[in-house]
Structures are given as C-alpha cells and as structure tokens.
Symmetry: C2
Subunit: 139 residues, 2 copies
C-alpha cells in the first residue's frame, strides 16, 4: 500500500500552472499528453517530496465541474490488485471500476470520495471474474 | 514548501475507519479530539509514508455535505506564511482566511479547490495587515 497522488480536475491548465507551480512553488515532476484520450496530466510536487504530488487532470473538451467533480480522487498502489479488490468486495464495497486490465480499479469511500487503486509495477495478467466485470455507477 | 495532507470530511467516523484503516490498510498516525470545536481529526497513512496522510475530519454535529464539500483541501507547510500570502495576494489570489494567527491561511485554486497553508514550526507573532484582515467567502 503506497500513496501515489491526489488528483484534481482543472479547466484552464495555464491558470492552474500559474497557481500550483508559479505561486505555490511546486515543481512539475511528470507530464502525460494523451491525444487519443484528449487529456493532459501534470504531476506537481514540493522539492524533495516527489512521492507526494498533486495530479492536475486537464480534459481538452470543456466540461463544467459541479457537485465536487473538480476534486478527483486519492490514489494508492497495492501489491496485488485482485486480492485487494476481492477483500474489499467481500466486505461489501462496490468495485465501481473493476480491474479488468489488471492495472486500475476505482472504489468510493463511505462519503463518496473516489479512490483509485493501481497495481504495483504496472499490471497483472487479465483474470476472471474481473476481466469481464462491468462498471457500476461513476467514480 | 512541504506537502502535509489531503483532508476529506466524513459523516460516520466508524464507517470511515473501517474503510480507510481496516480495508485500505492505512495506519492511524495521529488523532485530535477537540471538545470545544466539536470535531475529531484522524490522520491515516500507509506504512512508511507517515508524511503523506489522508486527514479525516469528523464534525460531531451532523451536516449534509453537498457540492463537493466532502472533499476538504490540500495542505502545504511554508517557511514564512506572511511572505507566502503576500506573494499570492499581489498575484491576485484572494486570501479567503488570512493568517491572523500567524499559523493558518486558506486560499482556493482557479477551480475552487481549497488549499490550506500552515506555518512551519507552529506560528509567527501576529502581524498587520494580516492580524485584522477579515475572512472573504468560504474555503
């Protein structure tokens, strides 16, 4: 179990970089431009704390974020995403986005905070029942 | 500039401890019970990452969290809270909760994400114009 990041959605990447980078003083540690998904991710962390970044998600197609959707999620890495999701599911937690790809899952806290679960070192081979499990709700 | 925590508000502390502690496997690193303020704060972090906790805020008097208020804030520690807030203010950022006490301030990101700024090593002596500056809006 390793903390990875806190993600927030932003509607104006330049304005957000001015705020988080230029004003707060965080350093950009990683950037992903995904043309197919039409989004940009920018990770920003304090000097010396590269393992505690805030992740800015900028979707190229504008969306108005209401109802708290500008807050994204907390993200944690686990040793075995299948064993982890199995434990949660048996405890009554809905796996909103099952780890079909052996890589990523989403759940929600009792107060509806979105939590991303990522497989350590990438992904495990696809495995049932996860591989064919549909999504439930949103996250 | 040091990342301190991500805060989320919870309506049922026991249900949240079952989720974050028992199911996700985070360890409780610190707890503050404030009778006067009628709230409990519980910090939970992965083993070995005590500097990257999620902070659960449990207000004893029930409140329905809508509009994303269940997400609280990102928190960072700074070397000089007055110099930091001065820089932000001069750049056009509203200091929603000025550091009247030399200890704590709140601002918001361009997308309205609440950011807490805390003075390193506690607090500085009260100082104008901050000491008599009123709050602006909510955070």
């Amino acid at each position: 179990m390793k903390y990875l990041h806190t993600m927030v959605r932003v509607t104006d990447l330049e304005a957000s970089l001015r705020f988080y980078r230029d004003l707060l003083g965080l350093k950009e540690t990683r950037r992903i431009e995904n043309e197919k998904g039409r989004f940009t991710l920018v990770f920003l962390a304090p000097e010396g704390q590269e393992d505690a970044p805030v992740e800015l998600t900028y979707n190229w197609d504008p969306e108005v974020y209401t109802g708290g959707r500008n807050f994204g999620h907390l993200a944690y890495e686990v040793d075995d995403i299948y064993a982890f999701c199995d434990k949660l599911q048996k405890a009554g937690v809905t796996i909103n986005r099952p780890p079909r790809d052996g890589h990523m899952a989403f759940i929600r806290s009792p107060d509806n905070i979105s939590v991303e679960i990522l497989q350590k070192d990438g992904s495990l081979p696809p495995q049932e029942p996860w591989a064919s499990m549909p999504n439930t709700g949103v996250w």
